[in-house]
Subunit: 457 residues, 2 copies
Amino acid sequence: MKEVTVYELYKDEKLLEELKDSEIVLEGWVRTNRDNGSLGFIELNDGSFFKNLQLVYDNNTVNFEEVSHFSNGDAIQVRGILVLTPEAKQPFELHLIKGVILGKCQDDYPLQKKRHGFEFLRDIAHLRMRTNTFNALFRVRSTLSYAIHKFFFERDFVYVHTPIITTNDAEGAGQTFKVITDDKNPNAFFGTPSVLTVSGQLHVEPFALAFRNVYTFGPTFRAEKSNTTRHAAEFWMIEPEMAFTDLNGNMSVIEDFIKYIIKFVLEKNKEEMNFFNTFIDKDLLNRLNHVLNSKFEVMPYTKAIEYLLKAKESGHKFENNDIKWGMDLQSEHERYLTEVIVKGPMFLIDFPKEIKAFYMKLNKDNKTVAGCDLLVPGVGELVGGSQREEDYEKLKAKMEEVGNDKELYWYLDTRKYGGCVHSGFGLGFDRFLMYITGISNIRDTQPYPRTFGSIKY
Amino acid sequence: MKEVTVYELYKDEKLLEELKDSEIVLEGWVRTNRDNGSLGFIELNDGSFFKNLQLVYDNNTVNFEEVSHFSNGDAIQVRGILVLTPEAKQPFELHLIKGVILGKCQDDYPLQKKRHGFEFLRDIAHLRMRTNTFNALFRVRSTLSYAIHKFFFERDFVYVHTPIITTNDAEGAGQTFKVITDDKNPNAFFGTPSVLTVSGQLHVEPFALAFRNVYTFGPTFRAEKSNTTRHAAEFWMIEPEMAFTDLNGNMSVIEDFIKYIIKFVLEKNKEEMNFFNTFIDKDLLNRLNHVLNSKFEVMPYTKAIEYLLKAKESGHKFENNDIKWGMDLQSEHERYLTEVIVKGPMFLIDFPKEIKAFYMKLNKDNKTVAGCDLLVPGVGELVGGSQREEDYEKLKAKMEEVGNDKELYWYLDTRKYGGCVHSGFGLGFDRFLMYITGISNIRDTQPYPRTFGSIKY
């Protein structure tokens, strides 16, 4: 007797052909069970696939009575005949010979048949992956991770595990968590203050200067006390870095990368993505396909300000309506540009140097830096990237100004010892997952979310 | 004029055929440069590959004088004719037309031509990846990571990002780092004490009870004040978990997994692995191939104690020579078993319950638990795994005894709501990297190592 998974039945046509009308065994969990006394149906999910397998039980089932008492959440083993049902909604079903309880689900099971709100489910993060939405979500999360590694592996990028505990806060971008062992002596373990990383970029750049193309993909942390739907204290980031690559080369990789990972998920998780499109965001697949079919446009910051001023003049009201060159664009401005002006994905480039990080390359105009933010309709900024300042003297002067030249001497060294044009970018993994699933709260994209004032598990 | 990488020239035969005798452009770094006034040779490494490209310059080179002054570490761009040299040591070389400096390497460059000790290099972790050993090492590290993801993806495991900041210390296995924002009020951010994870297992198990086969692969932390060559404060772990899988199934996956990732690295990083075999550990490839060709044996702990007693009786002296049933085996005992008795990889199983974690399945003898440690010659323990206790009442009693039943109520829930037989294992990534490269200090396997008393960068 063949033991199989639901995924194999759905995805392996040859196996299905071979097994039809024969006896097979499966193990899994009861999602629903209903019967009329002589005929019953169980939706079995065995964890291998988003879809369920329908079990039919009747007077050919040796323990009808027992099976009819299986309840939502029970772990069971079933033996039956695989029957193809080309006319039905599902392509096959299992005619049950016998079902056995492996692990009973007790009566106070929090997941009842009714629809549960996301907030309620957040409180039972150890069970919510058993619901359709979270089952689909964590499958897509897994596929997306793999797609990212695959993209870079195929292009011979070296994956670097940049450190989690670190002595520096990168660009001073966010507030950091301190790491200690002893309350009375915070430096007891390492001998020096240490914090959780906010970005792997500075640590990965020295690797680009040896391996040409590298990336880091790991957890990062921000101790910001913000309670929004887009902020988490712990989240994953992808940060590639490429030597001998300028801003144009950088944008070209970003475009290829974004399209590749979207395409990969759409192909691998068709069922899950259809589910999101039906139940979470009816415009989702349209939006993603639009990205796949767009050539990403490029717009300098200075041009963007002109567009925003024109919009203001013609009566458009922004929350922040004080549009002027030198301002840091807010999400509403970014969305106006990508949604109203460009109507598609776009790179905003060449920002005033004052509003960007110290490591960005100063353009010839001495006023702007070679940054590139990818903006997309519906969200605004998705990726932030830049060409890095490779000129040792310029970077040194800038770092002295910022005051991190001593601490980050090793970062400066990369420009001192055979530096070259190089570029990179950062993509927030969890926010990207929100984008491609339509899920609107970052807490619902993470296995066990950590946010200001909230840590469970 | 075609721009190419050294990797492409080595790995793409069609491209090589197409480009031979034509003009190409490359960018990279000078590894060595020597000339006799009319003929010179540069070893160029462009980061794309472990191997260098030889540049030959002579009176056909337009700027011989300039090129002859290129020095170790300079970033350069070169234009020349690709010439096949089937009789020479390297299969092709570049006859230089012109070379241009992209970024000069200043004279105080710490990496000089001579051989540097690992300890010296550890202090310049931002540059050491430019040496052959560390260049090879970080390439293998990257490949190994990918091999791991690929193995699980091909088997439809769901990858789960278990949290880094957590409220529990798993099995109480190691000392933890505390995570705070405010020295005066350690609970200021989350409202509760929080620490860095020591293992993702407990967090990943609930996912196995929904997705069947899952794994986590991420950083873990131990605040142990040990200064050995095998202890790091921060390291990466792989922890798969499989529902409906018992100890035998677990061992079968471990064996497939270990063989798969070794094979993948041997194939993808042939040059790097040959380098390690030549310069680091002359027995390396023998040892790895022996693992690939072995069927992993299985030995119960009780049997192992018999072997060790017999060894003692016949005069073998262990450091810890007090051999008796119930003892926790040390590395010397494990190595005796795998090197002298089995002479190959082996699983040690069924340990006294007193020496193992609370979550391991109690065997029918009521004395041992269903654990499985993979031991290999040369190292000892490589993997630790077990079948988990799926019986709610038994696990609850055990957790009450340990005193973590309240804190880990959610872990107990997985047995309460449709629990089933399940198993998993853990592999320390960095230690495994030591094993497959022959590198003997864990500090030399990590991009920026963090150990007791030492954190740089």
